[in-house]
Amino acid sequence: MSTDFPGDGGFSEPALDCLVRALTAGPTADELVTEDAALARFRSSARRPSRRLPYARRAALAAAAVAVTLVGSTAAAYAAVLPAPVQHVAHRFLDRIGVPGVHRARHPDDVGHAHDVRHAHHGPGVQHAALSPEVRWVTGASS
């Protein structure tokens, strides 16, 4: 403890010495009357298991959660099963980071419903190409 009381060596007044002696005196009986209560609180606190996980374990769990989310989102984007606006953003992102085969996946504007996508790419267009001019005239399909 530094001697930083005013006057370097402390006050020399006997009255102040007396005051300090009183302020720093040993405990009185009434000051220790709550000892049992304090001990009881300490016991209950010591018995109560901590619900908080250790820091390292919390960090590992958080990292695992982030990794699973990232992998899942990327896979979903690559498979083009995300809602159209999200898929559009995902495609742009995957394009930018150079993920191969993104263009071979379904076009983002077509996604949202796999059945519709297939129908849009291979349904009417393919059928129209295969139809003869006569059949096209019968069915009323335009060229």
Binding site: M1, S2, T3, D4, F5, P6, G9, G10, F11, S12, E13, P14, A15, L16, D17, C18, L19, V20, R21, A22, L23, T24, A25, G26, P27, T28, A29, D30, E31, L32, T34, E35, A37, A38, L39, R41, F42, R43, S45, A46, S50
Partner: protein, 198 residues
């Protein structure tokens, strides 16, 4: 002659074994916690009595509750622990004051003129009376001076620690401490305390 510095140093001398006691308390050892509590609770209570007389016991209980709860997070030695304890006590006292109690419900003249119980032996009476009177005298200072004196003398913190705790400069704390001690030295009631202590 016993000086202020001797008192402050005396409180810091338990540092050698304090780390062991603290480590035991942190590991859940009741004896270690009790030793810690017996060492510091009376000082904490006196400091809180300087701040607020009415709810000092309640505030002290809340302080120890938080200490027990957060003990596993504490890192440091004896001085840091004392500083941590009194900082918690101060914050809880401020919370209590905000909750409606007056922060400076000072000890009144009736407390200074306290009449002891008959069953206490004479030495106990004298110690109790002088301690209560001394706390009452410190509480009678201006708020800044009272807290500086209480933290420096009762809590045993050094000036830098007091300054950090109060959010003031060391110079401001030294001035408050100096003026507070000067005011106490000039207080005629201090002579009565001196007579009781003899």
């Amino acid at each position: 002659m016993l000086t202020l510095c001797n008192h402050a140093d005396a409180m810091g001398n338990e540092g050698d074994s304090f780390d062991d006691v603290l480590a035991r308390a942190r590991s859940g050892d009741e004896a270690g916690f009790l030793q810690l509590w017996r060492e510091l609770h009376p000082r904490l209570l006196r400091y809180l009595q300087v701040l607020s007389r009415e709810d000092a016991d309640d505030v002290a209980s809340e302080t120890w509750l938080q200490v027990v709860r957060d003990l596993h997070r504490f890192h440091g030695g004896a001085d840091e622990f004392r500083c941590w304890l009194f900082a918690i006590g101060r914050h809880r006292a401020i919370d209590a004051a905000r909750a409606g109690a007056r922060l400076r419900g000072r000890l009144t003249a009736a407390d200074v003129d306290w009449v002891p119980d008959d069953h206490l032996v004479e030495d106990q009476v004298l110690d109790y009376l002088s301690t209560r009177r001394a706390v009452a005298l410190v509480a009678g200072l201006s708020p800044d001076q009272a807290e500086a004196v209480a933290l420096r003398v009762i809590a045993g913190l050094d000036t830098a620690a007091v300054a950090r705790l109060l959010g003031k400069s060391s110079g401001a704390v030294r001035i408050a401490l100096h003026r507070g001690l000067r005011a106490l030295a000039a207080d005629p009631r201090l002579r009565g305390l001196q007579e009781v202590d003899r």
